[in-house]
């Protein structure tokens, strides 16, 4: 089985972001960037399938500026075999990303495409589902377990009512949720080795996909701030504060 994993470079999820005062976006200059956490789970799942002897090759692809090489190198250090950077400095919409990935998938012909379920910057949660539609494959989003059964996958998904298991014939698209696995931290020798693995850089403009955005972003604004409250001294005070809130609800 050949696996294609798509990864995204985002503002590190531990960074407290700052909205630019002019409303043009979130400050990203001088901010620590890293691989989107959900993408790490996707890479880990692919590498584990190789280690179990169920997959033979893992190709990792990222779309973004030159610096996105860093997240591809992270994936190569985790155990992916080769990388592709679709290079662009433009901020692309999710549909455009999915179309570019569909072109890469057409070239690579993977049996399984793995992605993170969402990126923690735009929180869209679109690309895996779009790519499944564009490549006419079945999908299993929000995966917490992937089991290979012959030419099928049995995927357990995290859904609003709990979990559900679906069977998918390959080729298929699966998006990773947090409880799928624990991503490894690559040891230094693997990091060194990653630099010698093949990494192709190709301009996004070469794929024949219209990169222009459809939506107009008017502004990015900070959320309303919460006013600081008070500390009460006893359980009785807390109970009466709760009772006051409940009475107000009932009055509505």
């Amino acid at each position: 089985m050949k696996i294609l994993v798509a990864v995204k470079r985002v503002v590190d999820h531990n960074v407290r972001i700052r909205v630019r005062p002019d409303g043009t976006g979130v400050e990203t200059t001088g901010v620590r960037m890293s691989m989107n956490p959900f993408c790490k789970h996707a890479v880990e799942a692919a590498v584990q399938l190789v280690e179990k002897g169920q997959a033979s090759e893992v190709v990792v692809v990222s779309i973004g500026p030159k610096q996105s090489n860093d997240v591809i190198l992270t994936a190569l250090a985790m155990g992916a075999h080769r990388g592709v950077l679709v290079e662009t400095d433009a901020a692309l919409e999710t549909l455009t990303i999915a179309k570019l990935l569909a072109k890469v998938a057409e070239e690579e012909q993977p049996d399984l495409i793995l992605l993170g379920k969402q990126a923690v910057d735009d929180d869209s949660n679109h690309v895996g589902q779009m790519l499944a539609a564009l490549t006419n494959r079945p999908q299993a989003t929000f995966a917490s377990e992937i089991v290979v059964k012959g030419s099928e996958l049995e995927v357990t998904r995290e859904v609003d009512y709990g979990r559900e298991t679906v069977a998918l014939p390959l080729p298929a698209v699966v998006t990773a949720d947090l409880r799928l696995n624990t991503p490894r931290n690559a040891a230094l020798p693997m990091v060194m080795k990653a630099r010698s693995k093949p990494l192709a850089v190709r301009p996004a403009a070469d794929f024949g996909v219209d990169l222009a955005p459809r939506l107009v972003v008017e502004k990015i604004s900070p959320p309303a701030e919460r006013v600081a409250g008070k500390t009460v001294g006893s359980v009785a005070d807390l109970a009466s504060a709760i009772a006051a809130e409940v009475n107000e609800m009932e009055a509505l």
Partner: protein, 309 residues
């Protein structure tokens, strides 16, 4: 200008959030509902009662992403907007449909500013994005908790559609959490427990407080990861987004991704040993102390005061 809205349902019942989604969709035009289910009759009948619904359309089919997407696709050309809840179903199908229709979707909408202007949170709710969608068709998901529910008392007509939808993926099994607490996403009061609750047994104490107040019960990602609470209780950026009138956070320090899920709460109360915890800092009312001492006393106080949900 009409809007098609996909109805969420579980165990043969319409999702209680649907009235909120109808209220949201109604801001864009007359609303028709689509129900895709193996046994759709009771779900469709409940949907027909929501004020503002014009027609309820019913497709009898398995509930996989492909069959739901194909059902929506066959109706999409009649509507200017196709919408769903920002739930695990809506998130699964709307982007798939969007790619088939070559439309960039706008998802997790929390405010409708005009016929094609929307606000959605990004960066775990730490920023809000205002977008204009100039496309001829809009594909949308709404966060139910951000909208007040539409009234009931309607009697919309129900129409069965004879569609044959196919799906390569097959549903095998559901694994549910048995619980009689209210729905997290739409509850008026939510009690949340953090990793400090310490165990699944500890969570029984949280549940007991929940019962006293008629509240839904949730948990942080760390508490779910530790196995103290089931995954569908997770509140936060990648779990459930809640907007209750009152959120009581117990033993929760307030990681960024948890705060993302509770920003819609009108009031936040906190019980925590650490007065400097981020969640205590944003709480309207906080009590500093050991949750294992406080919560049993609090249940007794509330019962004594005769509080009834």
């Amino acid at each position: 200008m009409s809007v098609l809205l996909l109805a969420d349902h579980d165990k043969g019942e319409l999702s209680p959030a649907t009235a909120r989604l109808v209220a949201a969709a109604s801001q864009l035009g007359p609303v028709d509902i689509l129900v895709v289910a193996e046994n759709p009759a009771a779900i469709a009948a409940a949907a027909a009662q929501i004020a503002g619904v014009r027609i309820v359309q019913v497709v009898k089919a398995a509930e996989t992403a492909e069959s739901i997407t194909n059902s929506l696709e066959s109706l999409a050309q009649r509507y200017q907007s196709v919408s769903a809840s920002a739930s695990s179903v809506g998130k699964d199908v709307i982007p798939r449909l969007a790619a088939k229709l070559d439309i960039q979707p706008v998802t997790d909408v929390v405010e409708i500013l005009g016929p094609n202007r929307f606000t959605r949170p990004i960066y775990a709710g730490n920023a809000l994005e205002t977008v204009t969608d100039p496309q001829p068709k809009h594909l949308l998901t709404f966060r139910a908790s951000a909208f007040r529910p539409a009234a009931s008392g309607n009697a919309a007509s129900v129409e069965s559609l004879d569609l044959s939808v196919t799906s390569a993926a097959r549903f095998l099994a559901a694994h549910r959490t048995e619980s009689d607490t209210p729905d997290l996403a739409t509850a008026q009061i939510v009690i949340g427990g953090g990793v400090s609750v310490g165990s699944a047994e500890g969570f029984q104490l949280i549940e007991k407080l929940g019962k006293t107040l008629g509240a839904a019960v949730g948990a942080t990602r760390a508490a779910v990861d530790a196995g103290y609470a089931p995954n569908d209780w997770q509140i936060g950026q990648t779990g459930k987004i809640i907007a209750p009138d009152l959120y009581i956070a117990i033993g929760i320090s307030g990681a960024l991704q948890h705060l993302a899920g509770i920003q819609g709460a009108k009031k936040i109360f906190a019980i925590n040993t650490d007065a400097e915890a981020p969640l205590v800092k944003i709480a309207d009312v906080a009590l500093i102390g050991d949750l294992f001492e406080i919560v049993p006393q609090l249940i007794a106080e509330l019962e004594k005061s005769g509080i009834k949900h």
